[in-house]
């Protein structure tokens, strides 16, 4: 999953990095096909080259040896709202049919059954980044037909499109899961199955989402992680298995 996400990044792109798997994916990309990737953290570190795997988005290793450290007002106004961020990474407890993401509450806002952390920078990243990539393990709980709360907007909110709502970015164009890759349909904005992992039956992916999942006419097969990718992930980037499970 992480290796697949890493391949989505092009050399030289400016990426707004979240913590956890996105951070792993970005550092894997830098170590392989995208050495010129510019990592920006919402904490204010620009062009970070962390000497250790940062546990938090504000880890001191993101500062030491970075190209620039600026205040958060500059991060959100002069970098994100200014349109300088090409790729944003998002995850979430719930992702729905149209790529809307919920990281706020399970249940009602006033009386939630589970209170999640909230937006952080996710709402504005989903609105401003030129495109966003979502990484999430597949499950019916995580992929409902509609999210309980829209924290980060996808492609269709209450029937209205991003353009109608005046959002600069293209939104969540691709969702990388552990069973397959979903793409947003350019017309409807609905998430459709675009590629599957080797030996994974389409049904397994269908069972993992809460709506009748459509498939691209021609389904691609995701090439498995190369030995290099596996070595970098397991032995170099996350030897202590902070983020890699199993």
């Amino acid at each position: 999953m992480t290796a697949v996400a890493a391949r989505e990044l092009r050399d030289g792109e400016v990426v707004f990095v979240g913590i956890g798997l996105p951070n792993l994916a970005c550092n894997l990309a830098r170590a392989t096909h995208a050495p010129g990737l510019v990592l920006i953290y919402e904490s204010g570190a620009v062009g970070a080259e962390p000497a250790r795997l940062p546990v938090s988005i504000g880890d001191p290793s993101l500062v030491t040896g970075s190209l620039m450290v600026c205040g958060m007002a500059d991060v959100f106004q002069c970098l994100l709202q200014n349109g300088r961020i090409q790729v944003g990474f998002l995850g979430g407890a719930q992702i729905d049919r149209y790529g809307n993401i919920n990281t706020t509450v399970v249940g009602s806002y006033a009386h939630p059954t589970v209170r999640l952390p909230g937006s952080g920078g996710a709402a504005e990243i989903a609105i401003h980044a030129h495109r966003t990539l979502v990484i999430s393990r597949l499950s019916r709980r995580a992929f409902p037909e509609r999210v309980d709360f829209v924290t980060s907007p996808g492609h269709r909110m209450g029937g209205r499109t991003r353009r109608e709502l005046g959002m600069p970015g293209a939104g969540p164009v691709r969702v990388v899961t552990d069973k397959g890759v979903l793409d947003a349909d350019p017309e409807s904005g609905e998430l459709v199955l675009a590629a599957i992992y080797p030996e994974v039956p389409v049904e397994a992916v269908r069972d993992g989402v809460g709506w009748p999942l459509r498939c691209r006419p021609t389904l691609e097969t995701v090439p498995p992680p190369t030995p290099t990718e596996l070595h970098l992930l397991r032995d170099v980037l996350d030897p202590r298995r902070l983020y890699l499970k199993g």
Binding site: E42, V63, M72, F76, G120, P153, R160
Partner: protein
Amino acid sequence: MRDAVAALVHDGDTVVIEGFTHLICFAAGHEIIRQRRRDLVLCRLTPDLIYDQMIAAGCARKLVFSWAGNPGAGSLHAFRRAVERGEPPLELEEYSHFGMVSRLSAGAARLPFWPLRDYMGTDLPAANPLIRSVDCPYTGERLATVPALNPDVTIVHAQRADRNGNTQIWGLLGVQKEAAFASRRVIVVVEELVDESVIRADPNRTLIPGLVVDAVVMEPWGAHPSYAQGYYDRDNDFYVRWEAISRDPVELGRYLDRFVHGVRDRAEYVERCGGLERLRADTRVCAGVNYGY
């Protein structure tokens, strides 16, 4: 610290203890808990462990925030118990990071609001009626707005300051500058109290001028388990341990008794932690620049 909190932090105050991961002043939070302040409106982008502890200790009436988790480790369970089960009841006012940053920018500029291009298509304005909009007098475009945040008191942790509060910070800056300028009263807590000449030698490094500071407190290790770039590392193990401690109210109570109520001051806290030398920063000193003319 005892005197500064006694004099400048009152029951019912709107309080900001800022610092984004970096320079979070736990020393001040613990002193506020020890002095049993009540009905505080606690504001921070990331409540973090410090506000989880203050909520558990019963200091908070309301929380104003944008991301309430334990970064890389799990949940803030005292916060979750309050919100999910009302134990204790806690009022929420919720924004995104950009919204909270903008509220403090407006406060620092003494403007009543701040415009931003945000929130379209999200449920946040429905959850928080203080997120509104304004029409641009040039393009007619509708922009989101957030109201200014002007706290009664802001506590800023920093690497160093002189006795007048001229404060220098490096590493992650968060919104420390905006919070200080937005606040009615400001307490600066530093790792090192330095001579004015140290500040004057590198004036571009100064983030907060003494003229907005009401009290300066020297408190080495005052940010632990958060960190101070160039002084000590973040105590990531403690952040991970907090998941288990905060999950169990009894455990959390024991922690507060032992490490907050059970100590007189920061020095005793550090002692009770068994010392923190293991976190001491290594040396990566940059070169200076020339201010000559």
